[in-house]
């Protein structure tokens, strides 16, 4: 074996070298095989890991939001929290700028659905306010609207409060109308005018039967059930009910002599499933024309009517109406809709009202007419409750500049606080220009951009 081996080696002189290189090749080949095998086995792991664990590296999907925004107001305003936001969500249901004590200084009257009361922010001297709850410790849970009127005709102003009883949709008989009677020294005694009703949204005063005392028209909003009543005052504080309409969802019932025949008529905004503006023509002595009129409506039962304000917008001597639309409260989260905004119902006489759309502000919840720029025509301030609050800069407050021919240009006053439910105008600081006051209502959003009652005070700029 040894010889044979030697011999074979002699026969191939290069054999050792070859043998060495052959084994190297074999080693390499083996190494390559192992490497390839290892790669083949190992690679699927990272690939599968990458497939499952790597986050997608492409751009996020584009999102299309459509908030209502407008050019910044050409009038300057100084914002001030009149009632600062606290820890808890605000529920201001109504604000008004009124001179309740007739001292020449405008005050702020507001309804607070969280603290369950009507609050009077009395301006005691220019810029100095003292606040008190009307009616002492009286709980009004929750008030929807306060109306200032001398209900008993004793020479001082009283306050009539519409009580919802429940902010949430409900048909429970929890609504009321409460009269806060002023003793002349602004101490108020409570009287219940209407009880055991569904949720009451509005009560407006006027001498409907022409007997010299003040009657009331009441909007019982309810939920699935509701109605409109007029309460005839027979003796001081004693009222007899008359039903004008049975329908759910009446929000506001502004009273005026709309047909110019010398007596007071009633119009009503009926929302919910109907979205109609009704007129009840007084034929004298509180007798209402049996044939009721719908003076304006929309087929869009989702329009979200939110308010009806009387105002002679074109200053032609008859009373027009501002109809706001933007209420989405029946759904969880709310979004501005293309049909939201403000509609002017122009009174053309003989109960003909022509509808003009004057704003497309998403989620419009309230309107206040005012000659904000002091140019002699009536502008309109709008507050939004349901703009797209996920987008910073969405408008919460807008004023519509009237060019004198009822062509309106929108100007954005602000973007916060969000969720404004009510707005009013009046010259609080006595500079001859109206200021704007708005109240916030937040039933659902955990958002820091909240406000209770906020004022926007007119400054320099604009005007003619």
């Amino acid at each position: 074996m040894k010889t044979k081996n030697k011999h074979s080696a002699k026969d191939r002189p290069d054999a050792p070298k070859h043998e060495a290189s052959g084994s190297a090749v074999r080693r390499k080949a083996r190494w390559l095989t192992w490497l390839l095998l290892a790669l083949a086995v190992v690679l699927p792991g990272p690939i599968v890991w990458a497939w499952y664990a790597l986050p997608p590296l492409g751009a996020p999907l584009a999102v299309r939001a459509t908030p209502s925004t407008y050019p910044a107001s050409k009038l300057a305003f100084r914002k001030e929290a009149l009632v600062p936001a606290g820890k808890y969500w605000p529920r201001i249901t109504n604000v008004q700028v009124v001179d309740l004590d007739a001292d020449g200084l405008m005050d702020v009257l507001y309804c607070d659905g969280r603290r369950n009361g009507v609050y009077w922010r009395r301006q005691t001297s220019r810029g100095v306010y003292r606040e008190r709850k009307l009616g002492g410790d009286l709980d009004i849970a929750p008030p929807a609207h306060a109306t200032v009127v001398d209900l008993d005709k004793d020479g001082d102003v009283d306050v009539v409060v519409s009580v919802l009883g429940n902010v949430s949709p409900s048909d429970e008989h929890v609504g009321k109308v409460v009269w806060l009677e002023n003793d002349g020294q602004f101490e108020f005694t409570t009287h219940l005018i209407l009880d055991d009703e569904r949720r009451v949204a509005d009560a407006q005063p006027g001498d409907l039967d022409g007997d010299g005392d003040v009657d009331l028209v009441v909007a019982v909003f309810g939920y699935n059930h509701g109605r409109i009543l007029w309460l005839e005052q027979r003796a001081a504080g004693r009222f007899v009910q008359h039903e004008l309409l049975q329908a759910p969802g009446t929000i506001h019932v502004p009273i005026h002599d709309y047909d110019g025949d010398g007596d007071l008529d009633v119009v009503a905004l009926v929302s919910q499933d109907y979205e109609e503006v009704w007129a009840f023509e007084n034929t004298g002595g509180g007798a209402f024309e049996p044939k009721k009129r719908i003076i304006s409506y929309t087929h869009n039962f989702d329009v979200g009517s939110s308010g009806l304000v009387k105002c002679d917008l074109d200053r032609d001597g008859d009373m027009d109406l501002l109809w706001t639309a933007g209420d989405n409260l029946e759904i969880f989260y709310h979004y501005p809709q293309p049909y939201h905004g403000c509609y002017w119902l122009e009174n053309r006489g003989n109960w003909e009202f022509v509808k003009h759309r004057i704003s497309d502000l998403g989620g419009t919840y309230a309107a206040a007419p005012s000659d904000l720029d002091g140019d002699g025509d009536t502008d309109v301030v709008l507050a939004s409750m349901f703009n797209d609050w996920n987008v910073d800069g969405a408008a919460n407050l807008v004023w519509l500049e009237n060019d004198g021919k009822q062509n309106f240009t929108p100007w954005q006053i602000d973007g916060a606080p969000i969720l404004l439910a009510t707005v009013a105008c009046g010259d609080l600081d006595g500079d001859g220009r109206d200021d704007v006051v708005a109240g916030g209502m937040n039933p659902f959003l955990p958002d820091p951009r909240m406000g209770e009652v906020t004022g926007w005070f007119s400054g320099q700029g604009g005007g003619k």
Partner: protein
């Protein structure tokens, strides 16, 4: 290279290619949109982000799941983008189209919503009538009653669609058609208010005042409303919310509250209130704290409840309950008296407590008064539920306890009238008017009795 090596090399090459493809696809795949966490509570924001990170953009179902979660927590624009992607990836799926359509409608993109609803019908959505109902609603939102009417007709005999058709017919003066549509609907769904109300309106416009009055009366007393696909949608949103975020936590917490688990769980529930306030849960926690004699905890919760809700009936009742636990019954009485002045839903318990207080304080007349009010409140509730037999029983107890309670006589009259007992109803109205001559509703009830 040996054949084995060649084979392995090919395998490795394929794997590298696959790796490259994976890398490329991850590089190019469209990511889920993130939402602004500051617009919701921190628990929900955390859950949404977790869901986003766990979701696979290659899977249509994940896009849809995220879309539902975003919609449920108030991010409709982001939700819509996800629904659109889901539908693009799984074009045959009808439910995704349907939900996308709802989202589009929510965003005010009405024509697009109609298109997706049509696509859902084409793809054999299991509830085509619901799709047509929403198509009709969308056309109404576009002020196109003609096309809305067509869509509602496609919805067949869906009660919600029938109702919309009747409304459109009344609006356009087709009163006969509306009446023909409403009559069977009234028979089929007598407890629902809308068919009666629309019938009343149609009768009134037809000049039939007596019939109108009858149906207005029926509408006023009908305790329910017609269920529409909108209600189903609302329920679906609620259900979606309960699967994630703060509402999922509250669902679990409410189960614990119902199971009356004491101890540390209660503390966990208390913490949840800081993320999202829940008044009924807070009220229950106050009651538990009172029962367990943890009165400082009850005070703390009650303070917050009062700050958030104001002095409502329920809150004032709890203040009274705390006073009782502190052996201050007179203070409790003051709170309860204040509560019944405020008024509200379900005052019976407070009347019971006041009756018990006055019994204890040796004032049986006042105790009797409050017992009567308790029966009256229970009777009125039964009446508005449409349970006239129960209402009559309770109201008879109320007037027996306090014959001067005009409101109880009125409701007794109403319940007897609607049960067909005319003679007894008349007597009850009479008693009401004797006590309260200006009770207009009693007078109206008598008028309706005479017309029966």
């Amino acid at each position: 290279m040996s054949p084995v090596q060649w084979a392995l090399a090919i395998v490795v090459l394929i794997e590298f290619s696959a790796g490259g493809w994976v890398a490329f696809s991850r590089l190019s795949v469209v990511d889920f949109p993130a939402v602004d966490p500051s617009r919701t509570d921190t628990i929900s924001a955390g859950d949404l982000e977790k869901l986003r990170l766990e979701s696979r953009p290659e899977q249509a179902s994940d896009w849809r799941r995220l879309a539902q979660a975003y919609m449920a927590y108030g991010y409709p624009a982001e939700s819509e983008a996800c629904f659109a992607k889901s539908a693009a990836m799984d074009p045959a799926e009808p439910e995704a189209r349907y939900q996308w359509a709802q989202c589009l409608a929510h965003l005010g993109r009405i024509e697009a919503s109609v298109e997706q609803l049509r696509q859902a019908v084409e793809r054999k959505h299991p509830r085509p009538a619901d799709c047509w109902y929403f198509i009709g609603r969308n056309y109404l939102r576009l002020e196109d009653p003609a096309r809305a009417e067509q869509a509602f007709r496609e919805a067949g005999d869906l009660p919600g669609a029938q109702l919309e058709l009747a409304k459109l017919e009344i609006r356009s003066g087709r009163l006969e058609a509306a009446l023909a549509r409403l009559k069977p609907l009234q028979e089929k769904q007598p407890r629902d208010t809308e068919p009666h109300l629309l019938r009343a309106r149609a009768e009134e416009l037809s000049g039939n005042a007596a019939a109108a009055e009858k149906f207005y009366d029926l509408a006023d007393h009908a305790p329910d409303r017609i269920r529409t696909p909108l209600d189903l949608e609302s329920e679906r949103w609620s259900a979606d919310r309960k699967t994630i975020g703060i509402d999922q936590r509250w669902t679990v917490a409410n189960e614990m509250i119902m199971a009356e688990k004491p101890g540390p769980e209660t503390a966990g529930i208390r913490n949840l209130l800081d993320f999202k306030w829940n008044s009924p849960a807070a009220e229950t926690l106050v009651i538990k704290a009172i029962n367990a004699r943890r009165l400082s905890e009850a005070d703390e919760l009650l303070y917050e409840l009062t700050q958030r809700e104001g002095h409502t009936l329920a809150v004032l009742e709890l203040h009274g309950d705390v006073c009782v636990a502190r052996q201050r019954p007179e203070d409790a009485r003051d709170y309860w008296e204040r509560a019944v002045k405020v008024g509200g839903v379900d005052p019976q318990d407070i009347y019971k407590k006041l009756a018990a207080f006055y019994q204890w304080s040796k004032n049986p007349a006042k105790a009797q008064q409050h017992t009567a009010r308790d029966h009256h409140a229970a009777g009125a509730q039964a009446f508005w539920r449409g349970d006239y037999a129960a209402a009559i029983e309770k109201l008879e107890s109320a007037v027996a306890a306090d014959p001067g309670l005009a409101a109880a006589w009125f409701y007794l009259g109403e319940a007897r009238r609607l049960s067909g007992d005319r003679a007894q109803a008349y007597k009850a109205y009479e008693r009401c008017l004797l006590i309260s001559p200006e009770h207009d509703r009693a007078r109206q009830g008598m008028k309706l009795l005479k017309e029966m």
